[in-house]
Amino acid sequence: MGAHRNVTRGYADELRLFGTPLARTGLAALVVVFLVLPTVVQNDFWLSVLIYVGITAIGAIGLNLLTGYCGQISLGHAFFIGAGAYAAARVGGEIGLPLPLWLLAAAAIGAALGGLIGPFTLRLRGHYLAIVTLGLVFIGEHLWRNLTDLTGGNSGTPVTAGASIGPIDFNSLNLFGESYSRNQGWFWLVWGLVALVALLAKNLVRTRPGRALQAVRDRDQAAEVIGVRAGQYKIGAFMLSSAIAAMAGALFGSYQQFVSPDEWNLLLSIQYIAIVIVGGLGTIFGAVLGAIFVGALPALIDRYSEAIPGVQTSVGGEGFISVFALNQALFGLLIVLFLVFEPRGLAGIWLRIKAYFKAWPFSY
């Protein structure tokens, strides 16, 4: 009983989801922010930015399971996101299934597609896999343009999937006699799902399959020697990551209410990889942090671009570089800086800060 709060006694302590009282307090604080934020920030711009960020975070958790925990580089994430969006349009919109069902349907479709691609991961390693999944994005784009019945072709398709769980309709939330806007409702829906997916993912990686994944990442043949069936885990990880991506895509589509084939491009895939790296490979929390960072930074720059010297904010305005160009260049610069100076990403910085305060007042 008298041990220091951070001392772990045995595996059971080590494997707890939220080990320390500090973590639990932090969690409670997060819950409060989650509940209160949409009522304080009623601005539709910031809410929609945060909703997109949340959706991206879900997708990034999926990619992190694959890249961070299983060591496979996929540039094909955009393909699965797109597949999910179209699944939502058809299953949620046309057939009219309720939210939990169309989300699950999207996940199932994502997993099935991942299962088709997965076997490639057995034969191909490292760079080869990256380029093959890159090809997936282009092949996918071709499919989306030509499978007109399913995707609406070039004109895109409206997504009219409903957003209600039981009696609660997130599109027009009515609680305790107070009515909330669509963006407020969606904020709660999306970030609730972020928490759920993060929890499930965290639970997965701390248990047997998760450790097996990491063993496969570190040395797949060695993993096989100690009895991990690397092939199964690789395909499994690919399917899981695709399923989560498809869920994110489904949410993306039904929030935006319209999707077109132009959206599932290589840039989207790259953005996800960047999120995983900026956030920190192999940490669930990092994927969420990365999504917030990568998603909100352009919005911040855009919002306050007038204050940045040399940036052109309107047609014929002063400045040599447009907001878009500045964003892109900063994005690139951030990736480079992160990889050069903090390969562990935002989560690494966070750990360092935490370690500093844990050991305080000693500097080491």
Partner: protein, 298 residues
């Protein structure tokens, strides 16, 4: 038959461009183990520099080509020196991401300097053609094929017989043992980047001198050169050239016979043919046509 040969010619011209870019990929990959996603950016940069030399500074086109290759080479080597050198020993995707980051920095710089609108490079070829045997040959296409052949040949001579070429090969094989022979890995890495950038710049300016002119999207061609590299085998320069030509021909022929043979697969199948071909080949030969099998150790 005429149509077939005409398509093949178009394929060779396109394939030459792919071959140049893919060869650049391989040179960097072989000696440093990095897949360079910034290659497309270097290609665009080279083409725009060529435009500046040819149009704004009014040097002869041939000189502009040399200058743009040289300056792109300098930029490539500088990238390596400033950024990538710090990444030695990091996992492969981290290094891939760094090159993507560089691409993201390069692109807005190019558009901030030269803008988005189409540029026409002053060049002696433009849309001139020669006719022979019922076929029409674009002068620019002929030059593209010819120059590519010459440059590729020069590269192989360099790679095989020069001492720097030898240094590149042995560094690729065993960097530490190479270092022990007094071969400076830094010099080899920087040289690889310089060569790759110069090849990309050459591809860029050759494309920009064509009927299409020059737009910032010119760098996208590098994405189709990835399959060329993979198809040939990532560590095989000869494979890159072979892969480039195969992909170029396949793309042009699919395009040419889209209506007769491929209408069932939707319009523009040719755009994804490089990727489909790559996947099929990889299923049969996981290390490409001429690539060496990676040794897997437990």
């Amino acid at each position: 038959m005429t149509a077939f040969l005409q398509n093949c010619f178009a394929g060779l011209s396109l394939g030459s461009t792919y071959a140049l870019v893919a060869l650049g990929f391989v040179v960097i990959f072989k000696s440093t183990g990095v897949i360079n996603f910034a290659q497309g950016g270097l290609l665009a940069l080279g083409a725009y520099l060529g435009y500046t030399f040819s149009n704004n500074l009014a040097v002869a086109f041939g000189v502009a080509v040399l200058l743009c290759c040289a300056s792109a080479a300098l930029v490539g080597a500088t990238f390596e020196r400033i950024v990538l050198r710090r990444m030695v020993g990091q996992p492969p995707f981290a290094v891939i991401m760094i090159t993507i980051g560089l691409l993201f920095i390069l692109e807005p710089m190019i558009t901030a300097i030269w803008g988005f609108d189409q540029k026409q490079i002053t060049n002696p070829w433009n849309i001139r053609t020669v006719e022979a045997g019922g076929l029409v040959f674009g002068v620019r296409d002929l030059w593209t094929i010819g120059l590519t052949a010459a440059v590729v040949a020069a590269f192989f001579v360099f790679f095989r017989y020069s001492s720097l070429g030898l240094a590149m090969r042995v560094t690729a094989f065993d960097p530490e043992a190479a270092l022990a022979q007094g071969i400076s890995a830094r010099r080899v890495y920087a040289t690889s980047w310089a060569i790759a950038a110069a090849l990309a710049a050459l591809a860029g300016i050759l494309m920009a001198a064509g009927p299409g002119g020059l737009t910032p999207s010119i760098g996208f061609i590098a994405l189709a050169a990835f399959p060329a590299m993979i198809l040939g085998g990532m560590d095989s320069p000869a494979g890159a050239v072979l892969g480039g030509l195969v992909i170029g021909l396949a793309e042009a022929l699919t395009r040419g016979y889209q209506d007769e043979l491929f209408s069932w697969a939707g319009s523009n199948v040719s755009v994804i043919v490089p990727y489909l071909l790559m996947i099929v080949i990889l299923l049969i030969r996981p290390y490409g046509l001429l690539g060496t099998k990676e040794v897997r150790r437990v």
